[in-house]
Symmetry: C2
Subunit: 147 residues, 2 copies
DNA sequence: TACAATGTTTATTATAATAGTCGACAATAA
DNA sequence: TTATTGTCGACTATTATAATAAACATTGTA
């Protein structure tokens, strides 16, 4: 049960945005270079985040993207769900009619608990928490991330 | 991030075994029928559980499989890991050298927390817990599961 | 106004994983 | 001895993933 690269890269891209809030749009090209993701692929990852209203964008020279809210108002759950869909590890958790056994099956309860455990982590963490973690972690290596 | 059918079916098969502890081997055919899984596919799911020592087996007439331990001694984590591999949602959590950014990347911390949250649920639940849940849930429908 | 620099959208593709099926084989109780 | 079980390996169809690429739309600036 592995995460897709879209969710992995997308989370990195969102953190990159949060770390570079300079009141100017950040170009996809810059993010792609810093995060070592191909520009073309990054475009595909950013698109749903724009559609979900987490990111805003502007085309043209000096264009780019930026967070629509302050980092402490964006939970990782929103990002995750936008890129990966439901948190449920099996379809029947959200969609009982997916399996005819759903109403009798107690393994479903297990998968639901896992969903809730994941939700708890992702709801309680914001982009700002990641920013703080990053700053704390970098210490002297800060320059790598801020220049 | 969805579970494979192997883990889904395998968890059901293990619960089926725990519910039918009658001191006799249970045939794969019976489990396949009750759980609505093809026999051929179920064989593939059972094999790693036997290899992991969770299940024992006997061939021939009246042969079948059974739990090697009592249900309260089998955590769901063991079953999950046997069928699905690591709990880590991204490779770098277990294998830092998977990604060159691993030591600086704080999204990795998020994925690790998710892994731990899942582990917590799966470690703290045993097959016996599922058996109890099932009995409680079934009530009058018990017969469906016990005959 | 022209144009270069950006984001947007859609199509296409290669690779791998999933979810099985099938057939030959091995062991064993009756 | 034989029918009944589990074991093992090969095979296959379908789908998802992880991209690449090309054409297009917008916009700041010279």
């Amino acid at each position: 049960m592995k995460l897709s690269t879209k969710a992995r890269y997308g989370m990195r891209a969102m953190l990159d945005l949060a770390l570079h809030r300079d009141r100017v749009p950040i170009s996809l090209k810059d993010i792609a270079e810093r995060q070592q993701i191909s520009l073309a692929y990054l475009e595909q990852i950013i698109a749903p985040l724009v559609a979900a209203g987490l990111i805003r964008s502007l085309r043209g020279p000096k264009g780019g993207i930026w967070l629509d809210r302050s980092a402490d108002q964006v939970t990782l759950k929103e990002i995750f769900q936008t890129l990966e869909g439901s948190l449920a590890p099996v379809e029947c958790v959200e969609n009982p009619q997916f399996c005819s056994r759903a109403d009798l099956c107690v393994t479903r309860e297990v998968w639901d608990r896992i969903k809730e455990a994941m939700a708890s982590v992702l709801e309680s963490t914001t982009l700002q928490d990641l920013v703080d973690l990053q700053k704390k972690k970098n210490g002297s290596e800060r320059l790598m991330y801020y220049i």
